[in-house]
Amino acid sequence: MTDGSAPSRPRRRAVLGGLLGTGALALTGCSTGRQKARIREWNLFGGGDGARLQQIHQQYVEQHPDVRFEAHTLAWGPPFYTKLAMSAAGGRAPEVATLHLSRLKGFSPTTMLDPIPLDLLNEAGVSESDFLPEIWKRCHVDGVLYAVPLDQHPFVLYYNTEICAKAGLLAADGRLKPVTGVPAFLDMLKAVKETTGKFAASVETTNPWRMWWTLYGQLEGKFFDESGQRLILDDDKALEALSLMAKLSADGLTPRSANYAALVAQFSNGEAGLSFNGEWEVTTYQTAKLPFSMAPFPVLYDVPQFAGDAHTFVLPHQANRNRADTKATVEYIAWMLKNSTEWAVGGHIPAYQPVIKSKEYLSLKPQAEYRSVAPNVLFDPDAWFSGSGAQLQNEAGAAFSGVFSGQTTPKAALAQFKAATQKLLDTPSPV
């Protein structure tokens, strides 16, 4: 009942406005008859991120009574991206959506996204100089801006401060003593395992892409050649990374099989004193009143590289995009960037540099502890089938999860992954 009456009022207004302003709307596309701009936002944030985004959106709605704002969260990964693509193909896409920067090229921006109007963005007080140049460049396809970055989110190390204190791993300032190199890393894990009596670290064995990509990146491994058409994976380096993963589970330092929910649960209930994951579960553990902190993932090999991605805002393609709604949408994006300290509380490193330099952000603990890794975030390989939650990650998950569970050897897993990647390369690109 409440459901039927609430949306009907604005809709009546919209219809009226449509009748009055048809001519003007058709010609100039401006909002003569409409009283309220409409923004529908789709995102893929569940868990702690989702809860935080809801709070931020509440503030946004309170400060913008002149906007009809409606946010929807769809299941992360393929379900979200498939739905977003289908809605863009169907012409009834929402005004704005979140998109992983690594997915931008594969999302066929020229047909399924609308360009971000730079003039409107500048009017809203956001410009190129507010971002790291590398990220800003990545938001363009063929010289056109299609995305505005909100954050960066690297793979990091969570540690339970009580367990690690007991294991003697904390320095005098209460921070985890930094370790580098595999032997030191293993020693640390063994010490934690002895303390928990169960695992050292919780990992998502069903989708170990981020871990493998981090390790492989630290070995300076390459994926595609310059043309992006040829796979030039370094077998030795790839196997080194996989063997380390196999060793971790074989020695009982990590579980043999754990999905994402289990990763969170095992760190929450103290079965694991460490957790290897993206930095977005801060809210979850804080809500659970867990004594924990965070640090950059250790540099185990040659160079500091940390698998990660960036969340951006995009304008999905609409058959009839309304200029007034678009203006309000760009203003919403700018508002979200300027208020991204709140978002950073959830763990992400803001992309908007004025926030990064703010006192508020710098005083966040543990969120500011790993901000140094931002320039070393390693994006997924560049291909239409690659990026967060895309086919390449799924293939890696399918092939590599057996390495943790002991069902496959690193060699067989790598062979399977390479074959799957080659198959994807051979598939005619649909975008």
Partner: protein
Amino acid sequence: MRSTWTFPKVATAVGAAILGVIWLIPLLWALSTSLKPEPETTRSPITWLPEAPTADAYRSILEQGDLIRWFVNSSVVSVLVTVLTLLVSVLAAFGFSRTEFPGRRLIFGLVVAGILVPPQVLIVPLFQEMTGLGLVDTYWGIMLPQVVAPVMVFVLKKFFDGISRDYEDAARVDGASRWRIVWSVMVPMSRPILVAVGIFTFIGAWNNFLWPFIVTTDPSMMTIPVGLANVQGSYGLRYAQIMASALLGGLPLLIVYALFQRQVVRGVGDAGIKG
């Protein structure tokens, strides 16, 4: 003889009861989980009953409001699909059974061949068609493909063929048009089978996952089965909430079934024997 408790009878009853309990355990376990405070859901070893039962999970689900919206969508879609399917199919079955027109046999043959086309293989071209027609994320887009039920036309036509023509001849003598004959003769005479197929059309439409899943992208247009699928993928540990939303999502049809069990049971029998 009938009322004595022989060993086979007792054994049968006990076996039946055990199987019944096994079949109910998943639902009871879900109910128990939904009444636990969140931290208790992930405790190990497991607790059978909530130590401190709470309706918090239900409260937060209902406060979010999505479930209510999906419930409205599901109700609108299922009721209209059922009504439209019955209407369109009854008329078509009557047309094929009682009227002559050029190409009738050929067209009926085509309809019967249509039974062979599984809806699953049409999802891709049908979605494309819907984008062309602008019906993605609309009630019509969800409903119309479900209304096309050649198997129902086939079953009803066979049933109508079996109804003696004496009844309609009598009605015709009284001056009834064909239109009147459909509603005053055929429909009343086939009430049981219409109720049966109606109930199953309703259950099928309510529970249909694949097509609404394809044709709705906007969460506010989703039906219960599709909307709930979004809850599942979200990260985080909210098992009490997930179980609460699952149970609430399943509740409407459980109630319908509990109330109309007799008709449903007979309906399956009829459908089975006819099919």
